[in-house]
Structures are given as C-alpha cells and as structure tokens.
Symmetry: C2
Subunit: 233 residues, 2 copies
DNA sequence: TTTGACTAAATTATATACAAGCCCCGGTAT
DNA sequence: ATACCGGGGCTTGTATATAATTTAGTCAAA
C-alpha cells in the first residue's frame, strides 16, 4: 500500500492519476494490459471511486482507453503509429521553432544556448540521465517560446504519449553526440532569428529521433521473438 | 428530466458528457458558470456518480476545468486566447493541408471539389446552416487527408474548443461568399498537388475566420456593455 | 468433436450513504 | 466602521452497496 499525499492540495484521484501516468510512461505497466480497479484501489488503500476517476483522467490524456463493461487498458501503439506520432511531433516542434525564432526574449535565447553547452559537456561524459533531463527542458523552452498555449498544449500532449518510447533513445554516447550536433543547428537558427532554418533543423532532429526509436524497438522485438522461439525448442 | 439512451451502447456517463458538451458548444451554458452536480443529476434523472464521470470527460477535452472542493466550471476564454487558438488552428490546418496536397486519394480530391461546388450554391442562396454543415465536413476531410491520426486528433481537439465561438461566424451572405473564395484557393492547391499553396491558402483562410469572429465578438460585447450602462441610468 | 445455449463468477456501472473542505454570514473586538 | 474569527450550510470528495453486463466454463445435442 503506497503512501497517500500527506495533506496536499490535490485530491486522491489526481494523485493516483499521476502515479499511474508515471508508471505507464516508465513502462512499468506494459501496453495492452488492463487496469484492475479493485487491486489498484487496494494498492493505494482507497476505494474504487477515486481509482475510477483517475482512470478517466488517463483516458483523457490518451494514455489508456476505456470500453464499457470491459475495463480500461493501456493504449497499444504499433510501429506505424509511432511513426505517425513522430511525424506529428516534428510538425509541431517545427512550427514552435519557427515562431520561437522571432518571438523568444533575449534571456530565453541565452538559456537555450546555455543548456546546449551543458548538454555538450554531458554528452562528452556520456551522462545519459543528465542529458535527458536537460534535453526535456531544452525542448520545452522551444515550445514556450512560441507564445501560443494551444500549440504548447498539443505538443506536450503528444510528448506525453511518446514518453513510453523515449527509453529506446539517447542511451549511447554516439547518439548523444549526434543529438548535440542537431541541437547546434537549432540553436544557431534561433540565435539568427531564422524561422525557416529553425523549422528545418527541428524536422531533421525529429526524423533522426524517430529513426533511433524505431530501429532500437525493432531490434529489441526481434530479440524477444528469437528468445521465444528458442524457448519453444 | 431528459431521456436517457433507449438502450444504446454508450454508458450514461458518456451520454451525459455528450449532452453537456453540446450545451457548452452551443453556448447554452455560458463560460465561467459552474456545473452543479446535484442539479445536473436531477435533470438527467441519475445519481451524481455518472455526472461526475461526465464532468471528468469534459475537463479532459478542455471544455471545463476542475478545482478541488470548488467544482467544475466552463473554461473561460479571453479574446487573446481566441487569437492564440486561431493561430494554432491555422498552423495545424496549414500542416494538414500541406500533407493532404500530396497524400489524398483521387476520390478524396473529387469529394473536396464537390463539397466546394455545393457550398458555392449554398452561399448564393444564403443558406448559413447548410453551409456550416458542409464546411465542417470540408475541413474534416482536409484533416483526414493528412493521413496522420495525431495531427487529426490535435486539430479536432482545438476545433472543439473553438466551437463555442463559431456562432459569431458565417452568418451573413457576404462572409459566406468570401469564405467560398478562400476555399477556391485551397481546392486549387490540393488539386494541383501544391503543398506550399495549400499551406498558404489555409493560413489566409484561418486569418480571415479569426478576424470575423473577433470583430463580431467585440461588437457584441460593446452592445452588452452599452446596454448595461443604459440600465444603470 | 464441435457447436450452442445456459449458468455462474467476475468486473464494471450506478446509486446511495458518509466525510471533508469551502464559503458566507453574523458576532465581536479594536 | 472595519477587520478578524468561528459556526452552520452547502458542495464536493470518498466509501460502500446494489444493479447491469461480460466472460468463461459446463453440459447437452448434432
């Protein structure tokens, strides 16, 4: 039984929703598996009511799907869907970048460059965890720079849905350095206030991120398949 | 007490969510007003439970917001936010149009053109209701043509949020005809498979839609303000 | 052996009961 | 007169009980 919020502002439903969301994003709850209301309620030491409300929230965010009298399952996503999601993400980020290139404040531009320098250092050290953290803030700043809450919201929604697959990415030093090079193009475009260059740089960056994820995922699935066959023999 | 679904597939929560959504979109429930769980439950002749679930769904779609122990209120949207929403919508539609220009099938292109011709006729007659209906399908087809479910989802989410303001638009024959002219540019671009032209045409179309909505809204608010002042005197 | 209907168990959906937090309103003191 | 501070009422949040629906499993008949 997990701890409930000491006496936080949030209701239990929201707390549970956050916990479940994190579990889905981290891959702790595999895609396609069903949420059992009773057992989740037991885990958190609450009744089924707040659990149900939490599941509604997850569905709203597209992380799970609900079918009447059948339950809520973690959204299953095919390779083709991942491809689509990256394409959409690329377009959204490209749009944000284009707008950011001439809307960001001086201090935002400076922050972007400073994060980039920091990521360069982390890439050199091969610190994937640190890199990922700054990377998230880097991209988030690009969204914010667009000065459009609806674009930001759309981008973040999609980013959330892609989160479970991010684990396949940015895990080796080689990829980190390539990512840095791509970021260099983005930073340059923003500093130059060049919308077209920013748009292009972000599209390219997302293309290579997509490739990375899809290849790694494919490789892992192949291994699983091979292992399964071996088991049967 | 309203009728519940005869014996439909949907659960009561979903049914209620749809009804409330429609009410919000039509403006029957003004922005900023609070949903009273008890009275809504009474109206539909159900308990509070499905009403609460419906409200969660509304919140998920961004039509309402929840604050713990205070209730759920219809999302309040300022003129500036409307402006942002139209900007985001313009970028999303432009992106969809760009992709559609070279991804649509022949029959989709034909359908687009045929809808356009039909709208031309309706504009001539001044049939606003008919025009609006086809117009929705016209834009929806443009989304679908992008072949990207995430872009489609993002576009439709935003479209839903903009829906309450659509009532300020496409109400006089003049605007209908201008809209038609803009559609002509879009259709031409799609038929020519010209991504850049499609993108531009859609941005322009959305700019003028935004202007229409914002102007009409401003005018109406001014009238309300004037009336209020007169009341006080 | 397979198909089909039917029953029972499990799970979700809804209703109802209870607890907790917010808000207004009046009282009191400065 | 005004600012501060409980208390009561109302609304939301949570728990539990009941109804509706699906699914799995059994047994009979083709």
């Amino acid at each position: 039984m997990l701890d409930l919020p000491a006496s936080g502002k949030k209701s239990r439903s929201e707390f549970i929703a956050e916990q479940l969301e994190e579990a889905v994003i981290k891959g702790a709850i595999p895609a396609g598996s069903r949420f059992d209301e009773t057992s989740i309620a037991a885990q958190f030491g609450v009744s089924r009511t707040p659990v149900r409300e939490a599941l509604h929230i997850l569905c709203g965010r597209g992380l799970a799907e609900r079918e009447p009298y059948k339950g809520v399952v973690v959204t299953q996503i095919s390779a083709q869907r991942i491809d689509e999601m990256f394409e959409a993400m690329a377009e959204l980020e490209a749009t944000c970048g284009r707008l950011s290139s001439h809307r960001m404040t001086m201090s935002e531009r400076a922050a972007l460059e400073s994060m980039h320098r920091e990521m360069n250092a982390l890439a050199e050290e091969g610190d994937c965890v640190g890199y990922n953290e700054i990377n998230t803030r880097f991209h988030d700043l690009l969204f914010q720079g667009s000065r459009n809450s609806d674009l930001i919201a759309a981008a973040q929604t999609l980013r959330l849905k892609l989160a479970p697959f991010r684990k396949y990415q940015l895990k080796d030093k080689g990829r980190l350095k390539r990512s840095c090079n791509e970021h260099q193009q983005i930073v340059d475009a923003i500093l130059d206030q060049s919308p077209k260059a920013a748009e292009n740089a972000l599209r390219r960056h997302l293309v290579s991120a997509a490739q990375e994820v899809l290849l790694k995922r494919q490789r892992q699935e192949d291994e699983v398949a091979k292992a399964t066959v071996l088991d049967k023999v």
